[in-house]
């Protein structure tokens, strides 16, 4: 459904020094430099796949999404989405895709969402009866009711986002580009949007490429993730494989009957925390079984828990350390 080969985007940005002298120099002789936002990115996404697109701010996620939906022309490389070259933005292509940006809106601010939905139905040539049926189905899934007849400005952020999703999906697109669709929503609203996206994918078989700062979105929806950093693709595969790649250790938490010293834990992994009876260790995955057996054997253990470190911490740490 989506094929990307050697995709690159280079922006030319103006450079200006601060102060009056810098302003005058900039006015007389404008200096620019090229900034590579996306560099030689290649991947394929099959029909019906839900793929998470991860990366720090400025990593190139949004630029890539915009090239995939045809808003931006690539500097180099080839893109095919649903058999079309996106940058040509043919009507047939536009009817098969949608882009939802969490911070941008297409609904008319002072009118109820229903007015914008009627406009979208007309623009996409959806017959009235079909549009009414789809609006009802999608509104039920999103738990939207009377909100559709209240002015958008009177809706909460969560209600507005759900209405935006409804407007973006009314024409039943086959490819969904979702850029931070849960940004700023409370936990309940995030969960509702996630459930909706999973259900929409199950019902329609749509292909979804999703960026999000909330790892819960990715873990709940996307068996496969793309990780992009400084414009380059760093990982393409299952989320678990990314966790293995980023964190070769697992976290072991112990609650003991009585306190012990750090020396007692020598050779049993990396000690992260020791406060009275509470212990936190990082243990290499291949030594986990042996270490846990030794811990249970040597210490009076009241409780033991083995977990993967949170993926957002791993990725955050990765970017902070500049390991990619």
């Amino acid at each position: 459904m989506i094929q990307v080969e050697g995709l690159s985007k280079i922006y030319r940005v103006a450079e200006k020094q601060p102060g009056l002298a810098g302003t005058l120099r900039h006015f007389i002789r404008r200096r620019t430099r090229d900034v590579t936002a996306v560099q030689d990115v290649s991947f394929r996404i099959e029909p019906g796949e839900m793929v998470g697109f991860l990366g720090a701010n400025g990593a190139g996620k949004t630029t890539t999404l915009k090239m995939l939906c045809g808003l931006i022309h690539p500097s180099a490389g080839e893109v095919q989405v649903a058999g079309h070259r996106p940058q040509r933005r043919q009507a047939e292509f536009l009817r098969r895709i949608t882009l939802v940006m969490g911070q941008k809106q297409q609904l008319l601010w002072d009118l109820p969402p229903m007015d914008s939905l009627r406009v979208n139905a007309a623009v996409y040539g959806i017959p009235d009866a079909v549009a009414r049926r789809r609006i009802k189905e999608l509104a039920d899934l999103l738990e939207l009711g009377e909100e559709l007849t209240r002015p958008v400005r009177k809706l909460s952020l969560g209600q507005r986002m759900k209405a935006e999703l409804l407007a973006a999906l009314l024409h039943e697109p086959e490819v969904l580009f979702l850029d931070e669709p849960t940004l700023g929503l409370d936990v309940n609203a995030q969960a509702r949007v996630r459930q909706f996206l999973a259900e929409y994918n199950r019902r329609t078989g749509a292909t979804v490429l999703l960026t999000s700062h909330y790892m819960a979105d990715i873990t709940a929806l996307c068996p496969r993730v793309l990780l992009i950093h400084q414009g380059r693709l760093f990982h393409d595969g299952p989320l678990e494989a990314l966790a293995d790649q980023l964190a070769p250790e697992r976290e072991v938490r112990l609650e003991l009957e009585s306190p012990i010293s750090a020396d007692d834990l020598a050779g049993l992994g990396r000690l992260e925390q020791l406060e009275g009876c509470d212990v936190r260790l990082l243990v290499p995955r291949d030594q986990l079984t042996a270490v846990v057996a030794q811990l249970l054997d040597r210490f009076p253990v009241r409780d033991l828990d083995v977990t993967d470190p949170p993926i957002e911490e791993l990725i955050g740490g990765l970017f902070r350390q500049g390991r990619v």
């Binding site: 922006y11 949004t62 915009k66 939906c69 045809g70 808003l71 931006i72 022309h73 933005r89 009507a91 536009l94 009817r95 895709i97 949608t98 882009l99 940006m101 911070q103 941008k104 809106q105 297409q106 008319l108 002072d110 009118l111 007015d115 914008s116 009627r118 406009v119 979208n120 139905a121 007309a122 623009v123 996409y124």
Partner: protein, 265 residues
């Protein structure tokens, strides 16, 4: 059939929603209508001036000309460059560009919705004018009214295309509206808003005929006021300007979209 993505159903729904949208701003639009009283100020200036005889219009004709200029201006005022500039800067243009409808149609519908909202306020101001100057009252014939309506609509089309041309420059410069302000002074003088074109020396008048400005106010206002005017030349010039501007707008828009980098997104 679709023309640049438009069909009858879209026209109906877009106009309906934009009219409803503009009604939410009715108080603001009433103030805009009131702020368009420049022709009445100019009328009072010319009425008390000795230079009035040079205009070739007697008192009643002058009243009718400036009232017509006010009405034509009410229904041909264009602000697409400001709306477009804001949409481009705030990234609102992106969703519009991803729909199978040329984004300019949305702005056309917004303008028509706004004109419809203005209608009662403009009618009220005209009624007050007639109450103050009852001798100026007239009702154009049906044919005259239809011709004036057509000329006003074509004036709107020229103004809209002209400003869309400037708006398309937003793809290159984020503040293209500065260019719009640059053309405001020649518009004020050469459109007939400050004075009928007969007030100007023959050379200026002749030069003005080669600009779009006289066809934005002077020509439709004279048609509405029932004053002698060369209909064929006037409508011909309006059509020529539309025929010239339309392909330029479409070409510049297409080139601009290629350059578009979704600013602010």
């Amino acid at each position: 059939m679709r023309i640049f993505g438009l069909n009858r159903r879209i026209i109906r729904v877009l106009l309906g929603s934009q009219y409803a949208h503009m009604l939410e701003y009715r108080a603001e639009i009433a103030l805009w209508a009131l702020s368009g009283v420049l022709p009445f100020i100019m009328l009072s200036v010319w009425s008390g001036s000795d230079a009035r005889s040079g205009l070739g219009l007697d008192g009643v004709a002058l009243d009718r000309y400036f009232l017509s200029a006010f009405l034509v201006r009410q229904f041909s005022v264009v602000w697409v460059v400001y709306a477009f500039e804001e949409d481009a800067l705030l990234g609102r243009l992106s969703p519009y560009l991803l729909q199978p409808l040329h984004p300019l149609w949305r702005y056309v519908a917004a303008h028509l919705g706004e004109q419809l909202t203005r209608l009662p306020f403009a009618a009220l101001i005209a009624a007050v004018f007639f109450a103050v100057r009852p001798q100026a009252f007239w009702l154009p014939s049906l044919g005259g009214f239809l011709l004036a309506w057509l000329a006003t609509w074509m004036a709107f089309a020229i103004a809209f295309l002209f400003q869309s041309l400037i708006a398309a420059l937003c793809f290159w410069s984020e503040k293209a509206s500065a260019l719009e302000r640059l053309q405001f002074i020649p518009f004020l003088f050469l459109s007939g808003l400050l004075a009928p074109l007969t007030a100007f020396p023959p050379v200026v008048r002749a030069l003005a005929q080669w600009t779009p400005f006289p066809y934005l106010i002077d020509f439709p206002a004279r048609v509405l006021a029932g004053q002698p005017v060369d209909l064929l030349a006037g409508f011909g010039a309006q059509l020529a300007w539309i025929a010239l501007l339309l392909p330029l707008v479409l070409l510049l828009w297409r080139a601009g979209v290629r350059r578009y980098s979704a600013m602010g997104a």
